[in-house]
Structure formats: C-alpha cells, structure tokens
Subunit: 346 residues, 2 copies
C-alpha cells in the first residue's frame, strides 16, 4: 500500500459534538483539520435542541464559524419531538433524531426512560425517511453496569427495528462484539458508527486515565478486535462517526466526576489511518471514512473546495487545543502518530 | 442489634500502607482513628523493603510516630529474599513476605515475573511458618485485562498451595466471586483479606472517579455481593485488610496516570460497620474485624491501652487529610456515614 492516500472526497463524520459558544468557536475549525467535510451534528447542547427553530439557529451559528462544512442536523428526542415536529423537521432539512437514554452520558439528563411513548414519533420518522440515532446503553442498575450496558440494550434495538423495519437506525459508537453482531443480524436499514478511539482503547486504557474515559466505555480486547474487524471488513453497515467530545481540561482532571468523552476531531482521519495501517487494511479506509456513511444517509452536500490526502509521516499530537482552563486535551496527546491529514487546495 | 458495639479488642488491619517520610507522619496517627491496634505493614516503599535490616529500620520509624500500635512487618519478595534471608527474618520477628506481580500496582516495578525461582524461598517460609501475601493479579496482556486479572491468577494460587500445602497464604484484597470461591476451595492454610472499599464499589464507581480507582479494580455487582457474603459469613478464611492507600491529591487529580488506591484508614471500622449494618449482619463484624485475622496470623501483640466502640451516629467524612498538594482524599469524602469509631480510654 502506498504511503499517500488521496481520498476522492473528504471524510464524512457521522457523530460530531462541537458544543456551543466559545467551545464551538474553538472546535468547529478543527473539523476540517481532521479531514472532515460532512459533520453529523449531535443535539445535546444545554438545553438540548428539541425544536426545529433551535436546530436551525444552531446550524446558522456553526456556519458562521466555518461555512465550508456540510452540517447535517439532528433533534434531541424528548416529549417535545411529536410527529408534527418530525414533519416540520423533514421539511426543514433536518436529517435525524438522537435518542439518549436518561442519565447515561454528557447532557443526557433530559433523555428517554421508555421508548414506547415515542412509537408515533418513530412512525412519523419512518414516513419521512429520517434517521434514528441511538445511544445504545441501558442505565446502570441491578445487574446492569458500564460493561454490559450496551449488550443489555441490544434487544431494544432489535425490537424497534422489528416494529419499524423501514426506519433507518444507527447504533452509535458501537463498543462491543455483541453490538457488532446485533447490527449484522438486523436488516439493511440498521447500521452503526464506530469511533476512532474505540479502535485503540480497552478498559485498561481508561482506568486511571480520564482522557481515555468516555461513554460507552471502551471494553475488552476481544471487543476492540471486533470493532477493528467490522471497520475494516468492507461491510457498508459500519462507518465512521468520531463521537469526538470536547471537554475543558478542568472537567477532565477531576478526581471525582471527570467528564466522559474523548476528543479526536483535530486528527480524526489520522487516528483511523493508524489503526487500519496496523492491520494492513488501508485499502478499506476510504469506504469506511467516506463512502458507506454517505450512502446510508443519502447525503446531499456542498461541494468541498479542498481535498484530503492521508500521508504516512510521523507527527506528534499537540498536548492541548486552546488555552487555560477551557483548553481541550486531544486523544493521544503528546504521542507520535505515523499518519497525518493534509488538506489540499485551500 | 444495638446501636453501640464495644469491641473486645481493637481492630486488626491485615493490609496497611503508610508509606514513609512526611506521608508516614500524616497517616500513621490515623491507624488508631480507624479503630485499629494491629497493623500489618506492606513493604512496597521506594525502594522496596527487601532486607531484614530495612524492615526493622522501617518498623522503628513507625514506632517513633505511634508506639502504641502493633506493627506486623513484611518483606518484599525479590531475588534478594533468599532462603537464608527468610531464616533471618523469622528470627527477627518478621511475619510475612508480600509478593507483587511486576507492574500491576503502586511501586510494583520490582515485582515478580515468575514464581518458580522463588520455590526455595517459599519452602523456607513454610519451614519457618511465615505467611505469603499474594497480590493476586496477572499483568494485562493478550486476553488478560483489569477485570479478569484476578481470576486469571487463581490457578497460580492453587498451584503454590498444592506445592506448599503447609505454607500459610493470604490472597490479598479479593475483588471477585471467583477469588472467594478459590479461597474456599483451598485448604485451611489459605485465607483472604477483604477491604472496606470493595464492600461498596463496582466498576461504575471508579469510571471517571480516580478516588475510587484502585488495584485490583472494583468489579461487577455480583462480585461485590460475593465479597459482602464472604465478609459477613462467619467463615474464618475471610478477614479485614483495608489496603488503605494514601496518595497525594495531586497524584489522584491527574487526567492521565492517576495513582491507584483508596484511602480508608481514618474511618476504617466505620465503613465496615456501614456495610455490615446495611445487610443486618453486625453480629458478624467483630469476628471479621478483630478475631479471624489474629487467629490466622497467630498474632502476639502489645496490650492496647484503649478500646474501640462503634456507634451508630451520623458523621461526615472530611474532604481531606492534611493540607496542600500532598493532602489525601479519604474514601467517601464529604459523604455522610451512619457509623463512627470512638476510641475509649486514651
């Protein structure tokens, strides 16, 4: 395989958190740095985006920072997201609805406790061909804990899929061999995103290291291997969604209650190239990063005025993005990467 | 059950880390505060205690801080701990030898990679009736990770026990149902310590919380239940060893590389009372805290001039022990406990 990969289109990242305000201004410019031109934007702001107007206003704020990115927008599933709102959202060009189980991750306090009340909303989404994005974890309680929370959710995934077989569903940020298998077992309307960091991490890496701590947590070596196998398999059900999650360093360097999330936006495609290269699977990287997600989502996008070249060239991940207490520590900060993202034609 | 428990002897804590220097001066006085008069002292200083002279010098430093405690001393298993050293150690009143697998926990860089070279040492210990204290984890590699590291070690425990059936062995700080079962399956020469914090914690509690992060890590809800069942069972194979591990707050509030260890010394018996009370098993607490360990170790001790009363009375765990960057955050800092340790007769 060559040491230079020229992507025919930039990367499409189907799981992006860029927050709002100053953090948004810090992070949005890094979308392109990571090689990404299509960013699927998650709605878990504070408060969450539960109306069409709020989503569109947020999109305008994003475009004011970097107008060259195609922002694909989502609503936050809550009682406010009625079937009528879904029909309005579809007309307004909103693509998906993100569903957070209550209390499982960053800004999920307003999340879902039961899926049943949302069946009419799911039916409307199916009718409008919108996408349901599932954070697939059950909250910890009784026998459920962080390491089986995803596996315990899989019957719910299958149940929603059975009830709404034409509804396109993405199981977000898969972390377990069981989740990969469940997605394969479902019909073609069910797909999954895989992050960059979960291609590297296991439980040992986040024990005592909050920069590697995210939800869903990275699991066992066999799970990591299942993610690598799926991502490099050429199966179009599995495509890239970074789930890059910027948190100010002060919220990460806390003894008690460190924020969950790994920040990968600045070097998104480089991390993935590193992982694929280690397996000798660089021939599969363009499909995973660029093609399968766009196909599943039927993306209509702005023509990027720039292109992405992945180069095998040593470079060190900087210790921080930004300054002071609100600076963000990138994944593998201070470590050497063998791959680099070059943006050409700007 | 009464709301006041007067222990007929103070608590014996069979797994104590008090470090050296300033940290020792800060922590040794808290042994008594936690209700403890017999402290089994771990040898993982920097450098580790691998000679009889070093152990005895350390004991003198401890006695200079609080002479009223019975310090039961140990050597750190290393190539320096030959059969000849074992015979000397026994003469000098050293009770045990602690074995750390290389690289699994705090100051274990000098630990053991293979047990076979130590068979002559184990034979000498058996002859001298010394105790082998095992940190029972395999280092992470291949399919071994933090959550199965203890279970993967159990065949080694059984193997050493089979080869040296009269050697008294303590599997330290058990954290898994599998370990509890393995200790039960062995003969009467094999026992186990259980900490206070592992009676409360599961994996969810240390995810994003370095103050609850220790080695071995707390595991699943079913494992915690197995520890509670063993501790409250009245089986003399299971007794108290706090594994209280003081780390300066600056080493805990690190994003990357937080120190492993939970500090419980100041409220040791109170935490245990809390856990036993929740199960309605306070009738078993004295045996667990005071009797079974002393019996297994055949402890000869200084007569304590004070006694311990456990009282059901609300109190809040202070946020810190000590000041500044080297202060230590206790387990459940800032939380309310229903039990309190009172020292009577000082």
């Amino acid at each position: 395989m060559a040491d230079t990969i020229t992507l025919s289109k930039p990367v499409a990242d189907f799981h992006v958190h860029v927050r709002d305000g100053d953090m948004m201004k810090l992070v949005v410019p890094t979308i392109k740095l990571g090689g990404v031109s299509v960013a699927y934007i998650m709605p878990n702001l504070v408060p969450p985006l539960t109306s069409v107007a709020d989503v569109l206003a947020y999109k305008s704020r994003l475009e004011a920072v970097d107008p060259s990115i195609t922002y694909v927008m989502t609503l936050y599933l809550s009682p406010a997201v009625t079937p009528a709102v879904i029909h309005d959202a579809a007309k307004a060009g909103i693509t998906g609805v993100k569903c957070y189980p209550a209390g499982v991750t960053t800004n999920s306090e307003h999340g879902v406790a039961s899926y049943v009340p949302y069946y009419p909303t799911f039916a409307a989404m199916e009718e409008e061909d919108m996408v349901l994005n599932l954070h697939g974890e059950c909250p910890s309680a009784g026998h459920i804990h962080l390491l089986n929370a995803e596996e315990e959710f899989l019957p719910t995934l299958k149940d929603i899929h059975t009830r709404f077989p034409k509804l396109r569903i993405v199981l977000e940020h898969c972390t377990s061999a069981a989740a990969i298998q469940a997605v394969k077992d479902c019909g073609a309307t069910v797909a999954a995103t895989i992050t960059a960091h979960h291609l590297f991490l296991t439980i040992d890496n986040w024990a005592g290291n909050s920069f590697n701590y995210c939800k869903p947590v990275a699991k066992f070596p066999a799970d990591k291997q299942a993610l690598l196998d799926a991502a490099t398999s050429g199966d179009p059900k599995f495509f890239f969604g970074s789930d890059s999650a910027p948190h100010p360093i002060v919220n990460k360097e806390k003894g008690n209650g460190a924020a969950a999330g790994v920040f990968t936006q600045t070097h998104a495609a480089a991390y993935v190239a590193e992982a694929f290269d280690q397996l000798g699977k660089l021939d599969k990287i363009e499909a995973f990063l660029c093609d399968f997600g766009r196909q599943f989502y039927k993306i209509r996008e702005k023509k990027a005025e720039w292109s992405v070249v992945l180069k095998k060239e040593q470079n060190v991940v900087p210790p921080l993005l930004g300054n002071g207490a609100s600076a963000v520590v990138p994944f593998k900060a201070g470590e050497k990467l063998n791959w680099k993202v070059e943006i050409v034609g700007l």
